[in-house]
Amino acid sequence: MNKSTRKSAARSSSGRVKTIDIVNKGLKRRYGKEKRFRFYGLLSIIASAAFLAFLLTSIVSKGYSAFLQTYIKLDVPLEAGMLDKQNPGRSDFQGIIKEAIKDYYPGVTERQDKRELYSLFSSGAAFQLRDEVLNNPSREGSTISLWVLADDDVDMLMKGHIKREVPESQRRLSDKQLRWIERLEKDNRIEKRFNTTFFSAGDSREPELAGIWGAVKGSFYTMLVTLMLSFPIGIAAAVYLEEFAPKNLATDFIEVNINNLAAVPSIVFGLLGLAVFLNFFGMPRSTPLVGGIVLMLMTLPTIIIASRAALKAVPPSIREAALGVGSSKLQVVASHVLPLALPGMLTGTIIGMAQALGETAPLLMIGMVAFIVDIPGGFTDPSAVMPVQIYLWADSPERAFVERTSAAIMVLLAFLISMNAVAVVLRKRFERRW
């Protein structure tokens, strides 16, 4: 009881101002405030949704065409003697392809023209032919009808990114080349098909031969290393700090530093990886192993902080109950606290992993930015990862890499979404239903 309550009591008793009148007077203002607050909230949600929608449409509209690729049907006469008897794989397939092209365009004789003509076809056509021949050795002597990859410029023309109306000097395809393509179109020998190369190949200088699979596998191995290291280490650290460590200056210091580490620019971890893992320990560069370890360092603080928050959220009454029947601290943690904290820990881990999956900067430092054509087969093979692949393609001058960049971003997003979906499923699984 203080002065103000006494004052209001006095007022109401004298009948001048009733409490309910004061309440009613302020009511409109109160509701107005609430309305405005709701409006601001709605506005910010709409704004962020609009930005997201804009971003997604821009990526999808740019990238969807990369899932199709222009193919040209070529009749390849495989005459006897064209193939190498001892080693059919070493035959001059490039020459055979050129012969086939020449057969189709008998009018082209000039050397310069021939070069222009051959450039309509991807250099990958020879490899396609080789695969075809090696898979079907009995085809020698017959004519193979083969859908070969078109060059990226032809692909761009077919997708409308190169305009025929533009003057020849400003076009990457000459008038002659356009005429040859028109003949292919007339004969129904050119069409867009699903781009399997994009999902099965590694990087390449030729856009039509470049694929994301190498980067996907690289990312997968890298994430595996990161997860395998950071999940157990992070959870062990969080459990120790939260449940077992004494509260003293040393643990305070550690806690402050973990929080600081979470805010350290990721490239610093890359420099550390370069200095320690590559230069000091001499681990192989550009590999998922080193990349995973570097990303583990970056992810650990996130996981530790989230896990500690999850442990803190477990009601103390559960701990007391377990301690009260005479269990040791480890038994309390293992049987009761950890299962309850696990969903939160998993959420933190997935957030950390999603961060790591999209991280580029530290990987540049340890050489994962290298141009790597081969698809990695293990943790110690040089490999690219998806964000670095996107970075590399975004940097490439060819028009066809623009759509591949967007397509790669779509693949990365799909990865992230599926990772989050797994997290949601796991969380639902481990969440106590009571």
Binding site: M1, K247, P315, S317, I318, R319, E320, A321, A322, L323, G324, V325, G326, S327, S328, Q331, S335, H336, L340, R432, R433, W434
Partner: protein, 281 residues
């Protein structure tokens, strides 16, 4: 209004460092199970319990009453060292259990708590099945080895706690799905599953309705034939109903202790009388 202000200042004066007040009544019993001598409890530099000495007799129910903040719960939690979980808490004096000071560095709290079980104010079953709630503690202590042993312990514990008939068909259901009173009896069953000798109860009925409270009180009545029980309660009626001896705490001091019927009919100390008649507290 004015009176209350004065009372607070008086209490503040009492809380300042001072010697403990003398305990009235007999602290001794003929067959003590736990013996507490000169127990002081501090939270940081604040003293919560001053120089408390009391015996807890075998197979008796000792009720601890007193106004909020008088230290009765703190004292109860000393008896199985649950205060260890609070970092700033430290205890002096001795609490003898089986003639050994439980605060001796050589004493392991795990076996101690297995012998001195605890039931908390708020029912806190594990978020597991009813069966697991009971069977977990015997399992970690290695008391049960086979499934049939565990089944037996679960059944006898629930029978003793008077819960068996209500839950026998749904042992695999979550313990947290029971009603408040059932949960508290589940917690008691959990405590007796490891066959402790002493059960500490910290206001076990404060979150329960009268019917559930009556059931718990009947249960205490039955349990006292096998166990020694120390119960903290805010309800004077409960103390008078269930206990043989009552201890009255006030601001960290044990003011008066004696047979329950004596305390409630002819209290010796003025504070005790004020409290049990409802004039203070």
């Amino acid at each position: 209004m004015q009176e209350v202000v004065n009372k607070t200042t008086v209490e503040k004066r009492i809380l300042a460092p001072r010697d403990s007040r003398k305990t009235i009544g007999t602290i001794h019993v003929s067959k003590p199970r736990m013996v507490c001598r000169n127990v002081n409890v501090y939270y940081g530099d604040k003293q919560a319990i001053r120089n408390v000495s009391i015996d807890i007799g075998c197979n008796e129910v000792l009720a601890m009453i007193g106004p909020s903040g008088c230290g009765k719960s703190t004292f109860l939690r000393c008896l199985n060292r649950m205060n260890d979980t609070i970092d700033s808490c430290w205890v002096t004096g001795e609490i003898l259990f089986d003639d050994k000071n439980i605060y001796d560095p050589s004493i392991d709290v795990v076996p101690l708590r297995a012998q001195v079980g605890m039931v908390f104010q708020k029912p806190n079953p594990f978020p597991k099945s009813i069966y697991e709630n009971i069977a977990w503690a015997p399992k970690i202590h290695g008391i049960v080895e086979s499934k049939s042993d565990a089944d037996e312990i679960v059944e006898t514990s629930l029978l003793k706690a008077g819960l068996w008939e209500e839950v026998k068909d749904r042992l695999d259901q979550p313990g947290t799905g029971l009603s408040g009173g059932q949960q508290q009896r589940l917690c008691i069953a959990r405590a007796i599953a490891v066959s402790p000798e002493v059960i500490l109860m910290d206001e076990p009925c404060s979150a329960l309705d009268p019917i559930a409270t009556a059931k718990i009180e009947d249960l205490i009545e039955e349990l006292k034939t096998q166990y020694t029980i120390a119960i903290v309660t805010h309800s004077m009626q409960q103390a008078s109903r269930v206990s043989q001896r009552t201890a009255f705490f006030h601001l960290g001091d044990l003011i008066e202790v004696g047979m329950t019927k004596d305390i409630f009919t002819k209290p010796s100390h003025q504070l005790t009388e004020d409290y049990i008649t409802g004039r203070y507290g």
